[in-house]
């Protein structure tokens, strides 16, 4: 009985008050340079990936699969 009760409270403890992504506190007077600010990290995005290139491995295999299908027809 005692171990059962303990198991329940353990579960409760784990489920309670969880935010895996709690932002870490900055120091009260923490300041940083405007120039330092995440320039690098904001430039790491691609918006031109949706091109017409079908020379990658996946596309080559896809083409092979589609062509084999039409041959069967």
């Amino acid at each position: 009985m005692a171990t059962e009760a303990k198991a329940v409270t353990e579960d409760v403890k784990i489920d309670l008050f969880e935010d895996d992504d709690e932002f870490e506190e900055f120091e009260i007077n923490e300041k940083w340079d405007d120039k330092e600010e995440g320039k690098e990290v904001t430039q790491q995005w691609e918006d031109d990936w949706d091109d017409d290139d079908v020379s990658d491995d996946f596309s080559v295999q896809l083409r092979r699969e589609l062509e084999s299908t039409t041959e069967k027809n």
């Binding site: 009760a5 409270t9 409760v12 403890k13 309670l16 008050f17 969880e18 935010d19 895996d20 992504d21 709690e22 932002f23 870490e24 506190e25 900055f26 120091e27 009260i28 923490e30 300041k31 940083w32 330092e36 600010e37 995440g38 690098e40 990290v41 904001t42 790491q44 995005w45 691609e46 918006d47 990936w49 949706d50 017409d52 079908v54 990658d56 996946f58 596309s59 896809l62 083409r63 699969e65 589609l66 062509e67 299908t69």
Partner: protein, 413 residues
């Protein structure tokens, strides 16, 4: 452990009291704030706790001097809290500290300038952290945890006091962020709404006046709320702001911002470089990005399954699941391009059967009707331009721009 004498205890307590009264007299915010930082485990406060336990009659020292007795309501419970804290009686420590906080707030209102704002921040922070410790202790003893909720109410009160016209108002965003942390921990995020409304619509606040560190934290949490509510353009704006202005040394925080920003970017058709995922240890998104690039619904499903728990816990699972439509768009586009290379004249007619075969190759078992359904949705959501000839089971694509790009906007809902 060194022997602690009565004399030394008396000295330590008096030192604290003098520091307190001097800080107020000279409006020395830096000295003042150090007096309340319980969880900093400073030598000064911990050794004071020992002195209080031994000396046992600090109240007499407080009451016999006017400089100290006028702050008795703040200091007496603070001493009690400190002793309880040292003995890890967090519930009692919290209860006492709450009294200190309430008394402090009363005094704070009377101080015209904002000299004690940093001390207020320390108190607000300690209230939250002590409440968390207290609740964990309550829960582990089988009792109902209610201190963090109480801390939330107290902080709302503090917010109200800062929401005025004076110099103190720049502190309101810090308190807001502490409230966010409480509400997110409690899972009562709907309570964020009222503070957000105050910050964003009240005329007393000019967002630009707030310190950068608070603006970054604020945009992170409100950005997360926008993700939760699936307002992607807004989420993109807020999380990107947080990312741009966050101290680059704080890699843990940058990682957290990216964790939520990446699914948002994916939803508007923008992909992170693989280097970014590597640097910030977010490789859980690796195969999702790859699936989009390829047009591979099987890879997407695998990726969702492999990291299901992780995605569910952060609440982005549904956002990522919806990317499936974009993946299908890319697959159909590839089929179209491949056909076009072979037979340009008839490329714009895509037999549904061909899509069925492609999916089968990817171990996705769908019949022609199901594929027709998907095509219908793609057309409806403007991911594909065209129509289909239902009888002949052919999708007839528009000759111009058959696969419109998202251009930074989310898929039509």
């Amino acid at each position: 452990m060194a022997y602690l004498s009565m004399g030394e205890s008396h000295r330590r307590i008096t030192e604290f009291l003098n520091r307190f009264s001097d800080a107020v007299s000279y409006q020395n915010g830096v000295s003042f704030k150090s007096l309340f930082a319980l969880s900093s485990n400073s030598h000064f406060l911990l050794s004071l706790a020992d002195a209080l336990s031994l000396f046992n009659d600090a109240n007499r020292l407080i009451n016999q001097n006017e400089n100290f007795s006028q702050f008795a309501d703040i200091i007496v419970p603070l001493f009690r809290s400190l002793q309880h804290y040292k003995q890890t009686n967090f519930v009692e420590a919290y209860n006492a500290f709450e009294k200190t906080a309430n008394a402090f707030v009363q005094e704070f209102r009377n101080w015209e300038s904002a000299w004690a704002l940093e001390a207020l921040f320390v108190i607000v922070y300690e209230i939250r952290v002590l409440a968390e410790k207290a609740d964990r202790q309550l829960a582990s003893n089988g009792k109902s945890p209610e201190k963090l909720k109480g801390a939330g109410s107290l902080l709302m009160k503090v917010f109200g006091i800062l929401a005025g016209k004076g110099a103190k108002r720049v502190g309101a965003l810090y308190v807001t962020c502490q409230l966010f942390k409480i509400y997110f921990k409690l899972g009562t995020v709907h309570l964020c709404r009222s503070v957000i409304r105050s910050i964003e619509t009240a005329r007393i606040f000019d967002f630009e006046e707030f310190p950068k560190r608070d603006k970054v934290t604020y945009m992170y949490y409100t950005g997360r709320l926008e993700v939760f509510n699936e307002n992607f353009p807004s989420a993109d704006y807020k999380l990107s702001y947080a990312l741009k202005h966050c101290n680059p040394q704080h890699e843990a925080n940058i990682r957290m911002i990216l964790k939520y920003l990446i699914p948002v970017k994916l939803s508007i058709g923008i992909l992170p470089n693989h280097g970014l995922l590597e640097k910030y240890n977010l490789l859980e998104y690796g195969n999702i990005v790859q699936a989009l690039k390829r047009g591979d619904p099987r890879l997407l499903r695998c990726a969702l399954q492999d990291h299901e728990d992780w995605f569910l816990r952060s609440g982005v699972y549904l956002v990522l699941e919806k990317i499936e439509l974009q993946v299908y768009q890319r697959l159909v586009k590839k089929i179209y391009i491949i056909q076009k290379q072979r037979d340009p004249a008839r490329a714009h007619q895509v037999k549904l059967e061909v899509i069925v075969k492609a999916l089968k190759w990817l171990d996705i078992d769908m019949d022609v009707d199901e594929v027709e359904c998907i095509m219908a949705i793609l057309i409806y959501k403007n991911l594909v331009k065209g129509y289909f000839a239902h009888k002949s089971k052919v999708a007839v694509l528009s000759k111009q721009d058959p696969f419109p790009k998202l251009n930074g906007k989310p898929v039509n809902s």
